[in-house]
């Protein structure tokens, strides 16, 4: 027997609003980081992915078209990083499209920016993007700057340790 229909109503309202809040958090904020269509899988190898992560956006001209599905080591033994992307399958991307890892602002999140090329052949599902530009790692950039300020010899190749023995400050 119902002691108070008002109580039951309030409990119902409480439970519903709680579930709605949970749903909002889960769907709107959480999973729907990319709520658009996908279906086209693309691969790209990079020397350096920096801070790129799963679910990082894939962007063309500033418009989000997909997300990063996974990141791992390339299976061909080259010790490069292989990024798997899931993009809108209605896109017609030429096979000379370039993929670059860029940063939002200076301290922002990293994302993959695609610059479509002009080729007549299109990338198919499971296709490979051949032209890639790795992420910029701040430390190496700073290292380069210090080198060019201090030495002036090898500009750009971060692998060589600065032979700045005698070349002064």
């Amino acid at each position: 027997m119902s002691r108070s229909p008002i109580r039951d109503l309030l409990v119902g309202v409480f439970v519903l609003s709680g579930l709605a809040a949970l749903a909002y958090l889960s769907i709107q904020l959480g999973a729907a980081t990319y709520s658009g269509p996908g279906g086209l899988t693309l691969y790209a190898n990079f020397d350096e992915v920096g801070g790129l992560a799963k679910r990082s956006p894939v962007v063309i001209g500033g418009v989000r078209v997909g997300q990063v599905r996974s990141i791992g080591l390339a299976p061909d033994g080259s010790f490069r990083a292989r990024v798997t992307m899931d993009v809108d399958k209605s896109l017609k991307l030429p096979d000379d499209t370039q993929a670059a890892i860029l940063t939002q602002g200076v301290l922002g999140n990293q994302y993959v920016g695609l610059s479509p090329g002009g080729s007549d052949t299109l990338l198919k599902d499971g296709g490979e993007i051949a032209y890639t530009q790795s992420a910029v790692v701040i430390e190496r950039l700073i290292g380069k700057v210090i080198q060019s300020l201090g030495g002036g010899s090898s500009g750009g190749d971060t692998a060589k340790p600065p032979a700045a023995g005698g070349k002064g400050s």
């Binding site: 409990v11 958090l25 889960s26 959480g30 992560a53 922002g108």
Partner: protein
Amino acid sequence: MLDFVRTVGWRSVDNVYGLGGIASFGSRLVFETLAPPYRLRRVIDEIYNTGVLSLAIVCASGTAVGLVLGLQGYNTLVRFGAERSMGAVVGLSLVRELGPVLTALLVTGRAGSAVAAEIGAMVATEQLDGLRMMAVDPIDFVTQPKAFALFASMPLLSALFIVSGLFGGYLVGVGLLGIDGGTYVSSLENNIDFRNDVLGSILKSAVFGALVGLIATWRGYTAAPNSAGVSRATTGAVVQASVATLMFDYAITALWGVGV
């Protein structure tokens, strides 16, 4: 010296008994929750007592925390020119930690103490014995609905706390500090991940709910049958549940992994 050793020994054995006691009590609660009769009427009444009556304090506190987070967050972020990320800062703090933990502490203080006091008073006035003599199990009839209500209400209240907090952050950011509303919301949406953040948050609040449900009902059930006993049970319940919440918070955070 020997006396001291004896006391330590006694206390340890006592504590082990206590742990065993609460463990078997806990398993009874789980069993009674899963097994019929389900006593829907009483569960609904108890959800009213724990959930509905805690709504006001949870939403008010949530908004207040969101306001403060927004303000503090802004002050720090603006130094790096990163005000854009305010939504993320407020959102992640609330979802990952402040939502589940603060909600649990609030609910412990409000509803947990009430449950412990009620059950303790029932012990003192022989109401539980009365039930036993009518061949009704007090754990099934009295404690289980209360414990389950605490457990079930917690994730819901935590979500409402978080949403209130997000709203508070929005108020301060957009209303007071001039951040663009769209930036706030998109920063929120882009940086909160379901698997890492939201799911962990829900798990935490469910665990905290179970802890409060277990501890509050246990302290009430084992209270000494007099007014001093009831008061000790009530304060003990709040303290123990709060400490347990904080300890489990660390454990879950560490095990679940933070971020990527």
